[in-house]
Amino acid sequence: MKLTIEQVRHVANLARLSLTPEEEQRYATQLSAVLDAVAQLQELDVSGVEPTSHATLASSLLREDVTRPSLPPEKGLANAPVKMGTSFAVPKIIE
């Protein structure tokens, strides 16, 4: 399976990665190779097999509806690259 540059760009856009043109080329090649390798799974008959999405024995851990102390905003925002007051600041959302 050969990934096109357009597919690579589409996926990079979904993943919010601003790839360089060289990376686009490289990933097109490398991902194609990986996809070729995983295509092996297509040879298996999986009809009637339930998917496994969880490997845990645990089920539905529930907590009571009680409040616990939050982080003070100065701690919650301590790592913020840019903040205004107690809000996180980001470049204008709607362009």
């Binding site: 990934l3 597919q7 690579v8 589409h10 996926v11 990079a12 979904l14 993943a15 919010r16 990665l17 601003s18 790839l19 360089t20 990376e23 990933y27 490398q30 991902l31 190779a33 990986v34 996809l35 390798a37 995983v38 092996q40 799974l41 297509q42 298996l44 999986v46 097999v49 339930e50 998917p51 496994t52 999405s53 969880h54 490997a55 845990t56 024995l57 645990a58 539905s60 851990l61 907590r63 982080l71 701690k75 919650g76 925002l77 301590a78 790592n79 913020a80 690259p81 840019v82 996180f88 980001v90 470049p91 204008k92 959302i93 362009e95």
Partner: protein, 486 residues
């Protein structure tokens, strides 16, 4: 014998007897790190102050006859994937450079409560994606047994620090072999517990349904003692199993007489290093001599595990790594115009090549039109792989195999060969897909003195028996007493 050459339990005995103090042990580790870490490069950062403060507090407890745990005062190290309140945690990525967590991971809290001084944060593959520590944004770690070689990965820093006696033990994480493979390559015991045995809260997620925290140490008993401190249910982790942990050291010397040990025919493959194969087969014969019965078993879907893993893990990772967006913490591309560019540039610059590759792969596998063919199918094959193990465990008590098909390879050797690198995990990752526990045990050396690991796979929550099986072999050999030459 140098202080730092002691095992964790030997040190703990001296601390308990008052023959040594935790501060002395911690200073010895600091001195050892100062001496060797320039070559090994296991540490991303040392927390000298924090470790010494914890050591002093430990000494006070010991003096008052009130130790917090059997390992109170024993200095250890943490893979940089565990959140440590107030101590920078980067997951070996540029995107988290400067990130100071506001909370401790559950396992970090448990170790602190147990009184273990935390020496610092250890190198790893970026976001645990890799098998050599070469994908770390801060440079690779070197194997204390041969400095031009990899210590394995992704918990390579943890492995190297323990093997080089910069710490007495360490915690790693294992998503597809990231504890066991580096343990094998550095002559350590490394245990990936059953999925859900140890809390993942505060552990930076790579692939949430596969990740598991585990101990790395120089002896089986140390490994058991360290596991004892962290194996418990955590109400902050919904996947944490509500299962009481047994005493892992109680039956350690019980031997293997009468046990049935499975040998999967699919785990002895072409392309395996002949010295590795010969050494592991020798170990199997040892087990027979010790009274175990070897049973050939089949895990027929083994050859699909790699493909399954390389769809599922990147898919989960692509979602887990979406939070690194430059908004709340970590790197932000400063010069970007508009939100879209800020996202794209932040992530483009913040992530390394391997991480980006897996995000791309995982995003693709989940995207519209491909989900059924890739992700869903891989989940179904995962079921088949789990069933393979369930069937095998109806016949045997544990399964033995090589941990890694090759001993430590040279740094840079596989950098350009993606699929060859992914093959490093071929024996370890089926265990993660099945959610069962796996352990790597030193079982010999190559002619050029590179360590070789034996993998022991067990039934869910059967870690105590696996440790007993490992201990039986350890008792008959001196491999775990051999020290890396660095």
């Amino acid at each position: 014998m140098a202080l730092t050459d002691l095992s964790m339990l030997e040190l703990a005995a001296k601390l308990a007897a008052g023959a040594l103090s935790s501060v002395e042990a911690t200073r010895a580790c600091l001195a050892r790190a100062a001496q060797v870490d320039g070559k090994v490069k296991a540490f991303l950062r040392l927390d000298e102050k924090g470790a010494l403060a914890a050591a002093e507090a430990s000494d006070a407890r010991r003096k008052a006859g009130n130790p917090a745990s059997p390992l109170d005062g024993v200095p250890i190290g943490l893979k940089d994937i565990f959140l440590t309140e107030g101590v920078e945690t980067t997951c070996a990525s540029r995107i988290l450079q400067g990130f100071i967590p506001p909370y401790d991971a559950t396992v970090v809290s448990l170790l602190k409560q147990a009184g273990l001084p935390i020496m610092g944060k250890l190198n790893m593959d970026e976001f645990a994606m890799g098998s050599s520590t070469e994908s770390s944004a801060y440079g690779p770690t070197h194997n204390p047994w041969a400095l031009d070689r990899t210590p394995g990965g992704s918990s390579g820093g943890s492995a190297a620090a323990v093997a080089a006696r910069e710490v007495f033990g360490a915690l790693g994480t294992d998503t597809g072999g990231s504890i066991r493979q580096p343990a094998a390559l550095t002559n350590l015991v490394g245990l990936k517990p059953t999925y859900g045995r140890v809390s993942r809260y505060g552990v930076i997620a790579f692939a949430s349904s596969l990740d598991q925290v585990g101990p790395m140490a120089r002896t089986v008993a140390d490994t058991a003692a360290l596991l004892q401190l962290i194996a418990r249910h955590d109400p902050l982790d919904s996947t944490s199993a509500p299962v009481e942990a047994p005493d892992y050291r109680e039956d350690l010397e019980g031997g293997v007489r009468g046990l049935k040990l499975g040998v999967p025919r699919e785990y002895f493959i072409d392309g395996m290093d002949p010295e590795v194969e010969a050494t592991v087969r020798e170990a199997l014969r040892d087990y027979e001599r010790m009274g175990a019965t070897l049973v050939e078993v089949s895990l027929p879907h083994t050859k699909y595990a790699l493909a399954t893993y390389y769809l599922l893990a990147p898919a989960e990772a692509s979602s887990n790594l979406a939070r690194y967006d430059g908004v709340r913490y970590g790197l932000r591309a400063k010069d970007a115009k508009g939100l879209r560019e800020m996202y794209g540039q932040t992530r483009e610059r913040g992530f390394g090549a391997e991480v980006k590759r897996r995000i791309m792969l995982g995003t693709y596998a989940l995207s519209a039109g491909y989900y059924d063919a890739y992700y869903l199918r891989a989940q179904k094959v995962r079921t088949l792989i789990r069933q393979d193990f369930s069937r095998a465990f109806e016949q045997v008590d544990a399964i033995l195999s090589p941990t890694s098909p090759v001993p430590a390879f040279k740094l840079g050797e596989k950098a350009d060969d993606l699929l060859a690198m992914y093959l490093m995990d071929v024996f370890t990752l089926p265990c993660n897909l099945a959610g069962i526990p796996g352990l790597s045990l030193p079982c010999g050396f190559t002619k050029s003195n590179l360590p070789i690991g034996l993998q022991i796979l067990g039934k869910p929550f059967d870690e105590a028996r696996m440790l007993r099986i490992a201990r039986a072999f350890e008792r008959e050999h001196d491999f775990t007493r051999r020290l890396a030459p660095v």
